[in-house]
Symmetry: C2
Amino acid sequence: MKTVKVALLGFGVIGRGFADLLLKKQDFLRKKHNLEIKVVGIGEYNGCLVNDKGVDLKTALDLREKGQWLDKHKDWKKITGKELLEKTDAEVAVEVVPSNIKTGEPGADLIEAALKNGRHVVSSDKCAMAHKFTKLKKLAESKDVRLLYEASAGGAMPLMSLARECLQIDEIKSLQGILNGTTNYILTKMQKGGMDLQTALREAQELGYAEADPTYDIEGIDAAAKLVILANDLMGMEKTYNDVEVSGITQVTKEAVALAKKNGYSIKLIAEISGSSLSVRPKLVPEGHPLDIDGSLNGVMFKTDVARDVTIIGRGAGGLETQSAIYSDLLRVSAIV
Amino acid sequence: MKTVKVALLGFGVIGRGFADLLLKKQDFLRKKHNLEIKVVGIGEYNGCLVNDKGVDLKTALDLREKGQWLDKHKDWKKITGKELLEKTDAEVAVEVVPSNIKTGEPGADLIEAALKNGRHVVSSDKCAMAHKFTKLKKLAESKDVRLLYEASAGGAMPLMSLARECLQIDEIKSLQGILNGTTNYILTKMQKGGMDLQTALREAQELGYAEADPTYDIEGIDAAAKLVILANDLMGMEKTYNDVEVSGITQVTKEAVALAKKNGYSIKLIAEISGSSLSVRPKLVPEGHPLDIDGSLNGVMFKTDVARDVTIIGRGAGGLETQSAIYSDLLRVSAIV
């Protein structure tokens, strides 16, 4: 049995989902992967849990369940995430901090610190990766460690691992995708429920799909950040957010949606890489097309030279669902630790 | 640079596609995978090409292009495929013979011979795999070699490698899919073109999507064979063809298709694993569902415990497209040779 030590940076929805799933899947990991994953540290914004024999995850989850902070935990130390990385001998940092979409911080800084410390990094942090992709990738290379970030673009949909592991003889020539579940939910409600944008948005907010400030979703900014990561990873580009031509769904009326529908089309917010151009904008998708998908689903169609069209559809977010991508990366890294 | 020697068993559409793509991708394989793939033998039903320094693929392709047999090739030998396996030191047998759907032969026999000889096997042969799955897998295990068959179910769609490489923490609980492009093409034409089944079938035959004898497609037999492979590979079952409850599309009328459409549904031939039951039958799929896909596309939706729904859509057949899956397997095997 191999043991891999993990420092978990962030204990929000994704971080707690990671801990919760680890408790549930311990037997599965032992039996199927002959692997013991031990969380030796958890970093929060005001302090950390540290225990080289393994942090008691159940107590940490229970505290937060009761609305308490981690400072009630026996493993609590008043240190920063960076100090945590220096204190523990974790081979892998799992960085799941909610970073700022305008700066990529504090995630980018934490990833950089972990890489400089010679740790492999698994990240779900689209903001950090979209802002500092090239710098962080080069740093990982120079330190001879791996930096994987499947969960940062497309949530539970395996996109980068699909291309890397399953389409090895293919060259990806272009791609189109729905990379934001909130806008897809809104557009679906406008089409199938005849709602206008504001009503559909309110419903999405009530159901918890959309944030109180939905700007980043409906203006296409969230999708654009993910598109940058895909362009850089899948096609070897060195794009940043400013290279994406973005227009969101705020100008889409229910009349336009109804007219499209009458003619056999859906209006979808499509993120696209074509040649060296990146764009996010509303486009017509014909009925029966692989990207004509309803609700909060995400989907990406790759156009390649051999398989031609391969489309993957899945949940673009979710505290549980996203763990599929995070653990997929973590298991890949664990194989080389 | 690593060299991997391959015996190519079969030189039909898929076998020629393999050779053709190898000629085109030699530089790509060297640069991206640091790999030289050398075909040291090609097996045909009436004899083989053998050359330990590498068979001249271009001449072999040219001969067949001109409608000639391989016996005009300088490397021709009047030996069987099994004798070829004994004569060469190929590490991998790529078995792409068109086998009989009722018996799985001659493919199953060739795979067995290759495994017994200690060769890794990559196969696109759904007939062989559907008939002899458990026996062949156990043989491979006992010989400590790999038997991979991504192309045998779903053509260019990565299904088994997706589950194995990209959904490592997930347990697949059930799946639903469209595993036959001909029937999907016919059902699409019945829906969008208002055709009856016979007219749509004739059009599919004229376009080369359907065989002169379309029985195996429209009666669901082809989809059922693929479903058996998926059940055994993805869910550890030991099913055979007789375990599948099969009904094809012959009873689907254009009136039924139109009525479904009016109510927001498409009729699709759905292959399904639910609990321990396997079935192939026409089912209603709502508009906007990931499997509501048009034309000759195939698609499979996995339901898992972590990612929840992951759907992959792609080309289920094609001399070029299928190579994506074959080479993906071959590159995986090459890494351990």
